[in-house]
Amino acid sequence: MKKAPFLGGYAILYLLFLYGPIIILPLFAFNDGRIVAFPLNGFTTRWFTEMFADAQLKKALLNSLTIALSSATLATVLGVFAARATVRYRWPGKPAALGLIMVPLVLPEMIVAMALLVVLLSIGIPLSIFTIILGHVLICMPFAVAILTSAFQSLDRSLEEASLDLGETQWSTFRLIVLPLVMPGILSSFLITFTISIDEFIISNFLGSGQPILSVYIFGQFRFPAKVPSMLALGTLLVLFSICMLAIAEYFRRRGIAKTGGKDTGGFL
């Protein structure tokens, strides 16, 4: 490797910029002062106690977990269909169908949310957690399809053919051979879409019925300066949680690549 002290230094600065706000989270979450500013006042865990005592927050967390579990499951299942169809079979209209599924990636989310809202209101479907799930599946699906397509692509076709030659049916081949091999991809798709759903704000805000949702609740609380420290405590836990989820997803992704004998070409997206 060539030495590049200038670029190396820049890389460190860039990471500091990226991680700056995230480092601030725990720093002030444990700081004994209601005002978030320097100098630090000493160590306290009272913001965490205050956060755990918040009944609204518990409700919001429960709602968000319900939404994220359902959206991640549905998006991943639909993603398996789409990935299998595009990788394994040839059929006319493939670019159009796939393009439509991937559209939410290149459309401002506000427009997706408002379009859905207009339709839901006009056909009289009441807003609820269910309508949030409908929206989340839509915006999670492109990510699931992208992750799962690469998982299906690294699959060796001859394994399937061998199984069919040995007398297994299409379905049993899929269940016994294909599914176990792409399982790491499925898990990493589930974890990624779960994280996206937990974090998502616009759809949760506009397609909800006023029930507390985690991201919406956080958004509201930041308007009251007195609530900021306990939100930083919550943020600290959420960041830790996200990093764990990602590390697990990355582990499965790599194991999937190793299983199918592929070469690692980098992270998500």
Binding site: K2, A4, L7, Y10, A11, Y14, L15, F17, L18, P21, I22, I24, L25, I35, V36, A37, F38, L78, F81, A82, A85, Y89, W91, P92, G93, K94, L98, I101, V103, V106, L107, P108, E109, M110, I111, M114, A115, L116, V118, V119, S122, L134, G135, L138, M141, D199, F201, I202, F206, S215, F219, G235, L238, V239, I243, L246, D264, G266, G267, L269
Partner: protein
């Protein structure tokens, strides 16, 4: 083989139909509805015939619409410029100066912040940049300044900083992918033929990675135009962008026809700007061949 091809197509369609029907019902149909609504006659909480173009005419008559649209474009173009310019060197560093076994780890490090709660990251910038916030108090404490800077009072600047931070990883990944594809022997050839490192970069590496740069531009530009959280939390609602305008038209004024027209106009502008970038890229590549 025609029958087996037909069978393959049928299986493919059967498999794609659940996700495709889902996207048709919950994406294509709603977007079509917005398109139709934008040419209907609307009022407070009501919408109906006859068809009219007055919603679009209003967009040109009332200066508020144009100023918000221009502001949205200005903010997202500035954010796009900043993120892409900052991202290129880091992508270059990871692609050219990090050993292959550590590349995945670097990309992982760069993408982690992106996966942490968006609302919290944006709200954090509010406490960082605010009056006597983290930047002010830190600088006053070490004696660099005496008076608080209160960067937050400059809504546009604060929004650009916040969004540039939020979308940074989006710009790194496509540029990295295109850098990875550059044939290293071309660079050696360039240098063997007497070009300096810098000239090799400008004449070989940069043109070859232009598609990645354009992809980065689009992937940052499109979502930032529609950002809602940042203007609310950072701008304090005083510097609305297009998403906030759509919201207030749809939900506060409850004129769905006018709101739809703004959404359609926004999609049109985003589409046009994206098309310009894509065409620039094509022309650029065309010149190479």
């Amino acid at each position: 083989m025609a029958s087996s091809q037909g069978k393959e197509a049928r299986t493919g369609w059967l498999l794609i139909s659940p996700p495709a029907i889902y996207a048709l019902l919950l994406l294509a149909a709603p977007l079509a509805t917005v398109l139709i609504y934008s040419v209907l006659t609307g009022g407070r909480g009501e919408i109906g015939l006859p068809f009219t173009l007055s919603n679009f005419a209003e967009l040109f008559q009332k200066p508020i619409y144009q100023s918000v649209m221009l502001r949205s474009l200005y903010v997202s173009l500035a954010v796009t410029f900043v993120t892409v310019v900052l991202a290129y060197p880091i992508a270059y560093f990871v692609s050219f100066h990090v050993s292959p076994s550590k590349k995945a780890l670097w990309l992982f490090l760069i993408t982690i912040p992106f996966w942490t709660s968006y609302v919290i990251r944006v709200a954090l910038w509010r406490t960082i940049l605010g009056y006597e916030g983290i930047v002010d108090s830190a600088l006053i404490n070490i004696g660099v300044i005496n008076e608080p800077l209160n960067i937050l009072s400059n809504g546009m600047l604060s929004m650009i900083i916040t969004l540039s931070h939020a979308y940074a990883p989006f710009a790194v990944l496509p540029i990295f992918v295109s850098l990875e594809k550059v044939d290293r022997s071309l660079l050696e050839a360039g240098q063997d033929l007497g070009e300096s490192r810098l000239m090799t970069f400008i004449r070989v590496t940069l043109p070859l990675t232009m598609p990645g740069v354009i992809a980065a531009v689009l992937i940052v530009f499109i979502p930032t135009v529609g950002d809602y959280v940042t203007p609310e939390l950072i701008g304090g609602g005083k510097v609305p962008l297009i998403a906030n305008l759509i919201e207030s038209q749809m939900l506060k004024i409850r004129d769905q026809a006018q709101g739809s027209a703004i959404a359609v106009a926004a999609m049109f502008v985003v589409g046009m700007v994206s098309l310009v970038f894509v065409l620039l890229n094509r022309r650029f590549l065309g010149g190479q061949k």
